[in-house]
């Protein structure tokens, strides 16, 4: 009883019932707790992961659905020595209080910036709509994602969207 897939670049087999959620597999047998449980109902975004580069709620996705696919979690984005630009920007702007919402938000930001490298502030807000933050860190998070966008696409002449 196990499901095989690629997790943050490595082949893994999750020894868990196929109907268990991907979130349960990640936080349980796979030992990666960076993906958070917040609601279990696709209402808060805390559990967001990338499946083949597309954002998915891990809380409702059966682990069997990712068999053979590529899953990226927050642990796969960067490390303290080699942070993802989104992570670097979040830290530079101290964009978080308790930080519980940040894993899912980072995944969303990475997905957004892949599709829309120079988003406007409104586009970032719209992309983050499925995510809840109770600490009120929203504005800093928005600024951090816009800053990361700038860093990641330095070649373009001028930002399209509003930057603070």
């Amino acid at each position: 009883m196990s499901t095989s897939f690629h997790l943050n670049g490595a082949a893994v087999a999750a020894p868990i019932a196929p109907e268990a959620s991907l979130l349960a597999a990640l936080r349980g047998p796979l030992g990666l707790s960076g993906t958070r449980f917040g609601c279990g109902a696709e209402q808060c975004g805390a559990c967001l992961v990338l499946v083949d580069d597309h954002p998915q709620f891990a809380c409702t996705l059966p682990v069997s659905a990712v068999a053979g696919r590529r899953v990226t979690t927050v642990e796969g984005l960067g490390t303290p020595d080699s942070p993802h630009p989104v992570q670097r920007a979040l830290l530079e702007l101290q964009a978080g209080q308790c930080g519980f919402c940040l894993s899912g938000i980072q995944i969303r930001a990475v997905a957004l910036l892949r599709e829309t490298p120079r988003p406007s502030e409104d586009q970032v807000r719209a992309a983050l709509e499925p995510h809840l933050c109770r600490c009120g860190s929203h504005n800093r998070i928005l600024r951090a994602i816009l800053r990361a966008a700038e860093e990641m696409a330095p070649m373009e002449a001028a930002p399209r969207g509003a930057t603070p």
Binding site: A41, P83, G99, F100, G136
Partner: protein, 715 residues
């Protein structure tokens, strides 16, 4: 509400010491040196996402003269950490910070004294450079680290230490980066929900079908692999080796449980508040003869039950070895939790070793303590096996303590110019503190449903001198000759209530600042000028003037569908000052588009962290007043998911500009809660500016706005 609430200290003849040092006097309770060149700081206050550990580390680095990265802040644990009661009420810098400032200054003096004696260099000539003690000729005479084993801090603090003057500080007053944030950004296992112990069982509670329901019977049936049931009266839980199996088992068991239910919750919260029995008291009474008024404003302000709505759900782990109960908890007050566990479990205090582990932001007393008792009860039934309990979203929104529904009745009188003559304010509410550890009975959720149950103690309102509860900020900060403030503390508590960020201040400031605006309008005065001329407190005037400037209040232009409003308050009447200007847009519903905030929190340890807190409080307050109310029927709180209890989402979040009035010489006052009341007041006043209606019902939804538009008797 913390140490202040304990009242005057025993007159044991010992000298008064700053903050929590007064009741935890040994220096080695607070810090110790490590030979490898680090300082371990052991505060009793805990990290809630507010950045307190970083601020405390800055204070220690400052006074010890060591580089900030050398400070390791250890999370609180019983029985070794100083007992600093609860991390709440914007008091952590005052209580813990000032204790650490003093303890570290004294520690520095002790070490320098020993080095001076040993080296013959006079102590005045010794400079401390990143933990090294340096003589005038540049020789390094020793260090904290070389003396780490000397037990120099195994002494009581004295009042003699002299911390640095404001102009000597280099580390505090700067925006050091949060020590805990990198792990949270990189997804490292730092939260309590991430903790895994070998051989651990996952547990889920099966909640009663209604408030106060009794478990009558439980049908037998199959359970997932290895799952078991634990029952003690109406306390019902399932345990399983795998988390998803515990979840599946809980659903099955819930379907097999039969409960005796009855109606316990009021039909209509507002009428219940108005009619329920309670104890009335006077908060403040200032008698004065006043002339016949030219203007009168009165109103009844209603605020529903609201709740903490943490993004992470409550969690605890416990392990019982027959004599010792180890608990891992995100409680805001581990000693207070211990006190209630002692009562609920009939075990001695020494049996409990409680380790604080960070959780998601809690914003007050949520279910963190409740889940710790649940884990401990289950662990006791499974000796040797660690048990982890995690709440569901429905439990988080529906079963933790809620913040009380409130009525605030205000009547104000003014002369023809609008100058206030008389003000009465009466607050009706349940208690705002049901925190554990303060009464004869445990306040923890499970205690009342065990086979040998405890009665549910009524939540309290601490006295105003301790910060107050329902009456917090019920005393207006304006010059008013005749003033009467009263409170009715309700005797019955249909839903368990306790502390939520700001306590009664949110409703009181909303009411006061609404009435001030109405009175200004009657007198034909500008709301800013009207307030300024009746405020004697210069620091209040400063923040209000500043916020108004930031928002270009005097140059504001009326725009169709938009409104601008302002409000100001000094939190608790003794804490930080904050003024807010809000711009709202009245579309299909009300959106707050912009906020300008000016705050005076006295000395600022970490400006960026303080601004983060002030902005966070402002956004949370926006969410609370525009969207939030706990709904219930006669039997249950109806909050199964975020759809039942919506909070502000990214598209609705206002832009925020916040600034701090610098007061480096003034005592620090805490920042986490000061912006909330003023933001709600400012939003209400902005709605009035846009729509020409006065809201008396929270939340400010289209439904409640419609209620305000219906013609009522003029008052």
């Amino acid at each position: 509400m913390n140490l202040a609430f304990l009242g005057p200290q025993p007159a044991d003849g010992r000298p008064k010491l700053p903050g929590s040092l007064q009741v935890n006097r040994r220096l080695d309770q607070w810090l110790r040196m490590l030979p490898e060149g680090a300082v371990v700081l052991t505060p009793g206050k805990v990290e809630l996402g507010q950045g307190i550990l970083t601020a405390l580390a800055q204070i220690a680095a400052e006074e010890l003269d060591v580089a900030l990265p050398r400070i390791r802040v250890q999370a609180a644990a019983t029985p070794t950490s100083p007992d600093e009661a609860v991390t709440s009420g914007s008091l952590s810098v005052q209580e813990s910070g000032m204790a650490i400032r003093h303890a570290c200054a004294e520690a520095r003096g002790i070490f320098v004294g020993v080095i001076a004696q040993r080296s013959g260099v006079s102590r005045e000539d010794i400079v401390v450079r990143d933990g090294d003690f340096v003589a005038p000729d540049g020789r390094v005479l020793g260090s904290y680290w070389s003396l780490a084993e000397a037990a120099l801090l195994a002494v009581e603090a004295t009042p003699d230490a002299t911390p640095k003057r404001a102009d000597q500080r280099r580390v505090t007053g700067t925006s050091a980066a949060r020590l805990d944030l990198p792990e949270k950004v990189f997804g490292a296992p730092r939260f309590i929900q991430d903790l895994r112990l070998p051989g651990m069982l996952h547990a889920r509670m099966v909640r009663p079908a209604a408030r106060g329901a009794k478990l009558v019977s439980l049908r037998d049936g199959a359970l997932p692999n290895g799952a078991t049931i634990h029952r003690d009266g109406s306390f019902l839980a399932v345990l399983a080796p795998e988390e998803h199996e515990a979840e599946a088992a809980a659903l099955r068991v819930a379907a097999r449980a039969e409960w005796a239910v009855r109606d316990t919750l009021p039909d209509h919260t507002e009428s219940w508040l108005a009619g329920a029995p309670g104890e009335a008291s006077t908060v403040l009474d200032r008698v004065a003869e006043t002339p016949e008024p030219a203007h009168r404003v009165s109103g009844r302000f209603f605020r529903p039950f609201v709740t903490h709505a943490s993004i992470g759900t409550c969690c605890a782990l416990a392990q019982w070895d027959g004599a010792r109960m180890r608990i891992w908890s995100h409680s805001q007050g581990i000693y207070n939790l211990r006190a209630d566990l002692v009562k609920a479990m009939h075990l001695p205090a020494e049996a409990f070793h409680i380790q604080h582990v960070e959780g998601a932001g809690c914003y007050g007393h949520n279910g963190a303590d409740d889940v710790a008792l649940e884990a401990a009860l289950l662990a006791r039934a499974h000796p040797g096996v660690p048990v982890r309990v995690l709440w569901s979203r429905a439990e988080e929104l529906g079963w933790g303590p809620v913040s009380p529904a409130m009525l605030v009745d205000v009547a104000a009188e003014a002369d023809a110019e609008g100058t206030l003559l008389r003000w009465t304010q009466h607050v009706t509410s349940n208690g705002h503190s049901g925190r554990p550890g303060r009464g004869a009975l445990p306040t923890l959720l499970a205690a009342s449903i065990l086979a040998e149950p405890f009665a549910v103690p009524n939540a309290i309102n601490p006295p105003l001198a301790g910060g107050g509860g329902a009456q917090r900020n019920a005393v207006p900060g304006y010059a008013i000759p005749a003033l009467h403030v009263g409170m009715t503390h309700l005797a019955e508590m249909p839903v368990r209530t306790s502390a939520l960020r700001g306590l009664g201040a949110l409703a009181n400031v909303w009411a006061i600042e609404s009435v001030m605006d109405e009175m200004a309008a009657k007198a034909g005065a500008d709301p800013l000028a009207y307030r300024l001329r009746q405020m004697e407190d210069a620091r209040a005037r400063d923040v209000l003037t500043r916020a108004a400037e930031m928002a270009n209040w005097s140059g504001r232009v009326k725009r169709e569908g938009f409104g601008l409003g302002l409000a100001v308050a000094r939190y608790k009447g003794t804490g930080a000052w904050c003024a807010a200007v809000a711009e709202i847009e009245a579309a299909e519903r009300v959106f707050c588009r912009r906020l300008w905030l000016a705050a005076d929190v006295g000395e600022v340890i970490n400006p960026d962290g303080t601004l983060n807190q002030i902005e966070g409080g402002a956004i949370q307050a926006t969410s609370l007043c525009l969207l939030e109310q706990v709904r219930h029927d006669a039997r249950n709180v109806l909050a199964g998911s975020w759809e039942d209890y919506p909070i502000l989402r990214f598209s609705e979040v206002p832009q925020v500009e916040a600034t701090l009035v610098a007061r480096p010489e003034a005592p620090p006052l805490g920042a986490g809660e000061c912006s909330m009341g003023p933001v709600i007041g400012a939003i209400a006043n902005a709605i009035a500016d846009a729509l020409d209606i006065r809201l008396r019902h929270w939340p400010f939804t289209p439904e409640n706005i419609a209620k305000a538009i219906e013609p009522t008797c003029p008052n």
